[in-house]
Amino acid sequence: MLGLFSLVIPAFSYAYLDLGTGSYMFQILIAFVLGGLFTVKQYFRQIRDFISGLFFRKKNDSFDEQK
């Protein structure tokens, strides 16, 4: 049924897309800055979640007490 398509197929599969040298190098250049900002963002997210978790637990506890 198939094998009628004689497309040239390479022996291995790399990304077939043209990455673009400028785009490739740019990612390496900004990696450190983006990584640093992301780490700080994650840190503040964890603090925020911890505090809102505390607040939510307190609210639930006082609600249970009222019941």
Partner: protein
Amino acid sequence: MNKNSLIRSSFRDPSGFLFLRDGILYRQVNLVYKDHYEHLLKSGLYNALLSEGLLIEHDEYADINDGIAYKIIRPEVIDFISYPYEWCFSQLKDAALTTLKIQGIALKYQMTLKDCSAYNIQFQKGKAILIDTLSFEKYSEGEPWAAYRQFCQHFLAPLALMTYTDVRLGELLKTFIDGIPLDFAVKLLPFRSKVNFHLLTHLHLHMKSQRHYSKKTFQKKGAQFTRLAFDALVDSLESAIASLKWKPEGTEWVDYYQDTNYSSEAFLYKKQVVDSLIEKIQPKSIWDFGANTGIFSQIASTQKIRTLAFDMDCAAVEKMYLDCRKRNDSYLLPLCIDLTNPSPAIGWQNQERMSFIDRGPIDTIIALALIHHFALTHNVPIEFIARLFSKLCNSLIIEFILKTDSQVQKMLSLRKDIFSNYNEKTFEKEFSKYFEIKETIKITDSERVLYYMINRGH
């Protein structure tokens, strides 16, 4: 005899390609992709994406061992193929966010998207979904994202242009089939786009890097791009897309239903007539042209009929899409289509992306308060309008607005009336060449007539 026919847009990726056989869609998975395909399934990524409605389903049809092909799979078929230059702002934005969400999930399963073409996303049941199952490859830490450039060109650049310059610039995706080149996008963006840190990074500075390295040769070295950097990149792009917002207002047709020419009784009557006609016809699918805010398209989608709502006004389509999203309407898909200049066939040999006309015909077309614009604003002869519709549908619900209608009078007030053929008699005569008129219903309290017709060719 070879009964297989290649899908014209599916040829760039050596991992495999789509083809049709006896009207059924298949995807050949090549041996070079075998490891990645097996990892996609065994790692659990395929099921994870399926459970969130982010990737189309497929079933495995046959195993092959001819030195080239590895497997044939049968993917889920998309109801209607649409293209990024036909999407409103929020559809393109949702397609971008869906792509990034998929990339984020893929990394957790040690895979990554090797391309980020907007054409890999389609809208099915009202939601953006990835249709290229072979887009994934096994992730190995060290290499930057292969699809970064493509993501910026296909999604970030057009969305930034639509936000900061003009929403109609989304149409540039028709001209630039691999997304808008960053140097061009940056020229069209105002200075204030640089105040957005993410656009400054991924468009302006990214472009400068492209320009800087454009004439340099480069040797790839060892691992330099960590997993943390990758997660940070995806997160930054998500923030970039999320920061782009556009309000649908200020266009010619966005407030149409505040200014229309119907009394509330006439409008209600028209809705009832359209509703009962659709119920009688029971079409499998409907195209609603000049749908505006989708009031009549919703009559069809409420009856669980797959409905496409087209309008040339991007703000009207935006409002329709946001409303569909809010109501979770899985039967209605709004798109930006101008029937006086519908999407052409583009790409290699003008065959990669289909023209709008070639994506028909459809069961039923609804054309309400529409054709007077073609005839009187665009000077299209009624015979041409009839011929076009005859190619597109099996049956037609169409409204003819008489010259005595006050809106038509307003349209003609500053022009010489050269439209001696614009009348009921000519309309019925020209359409009867292609359609059999089954019902003629005068809308009470108006100068408008609804027709239900069946194509003579079907």
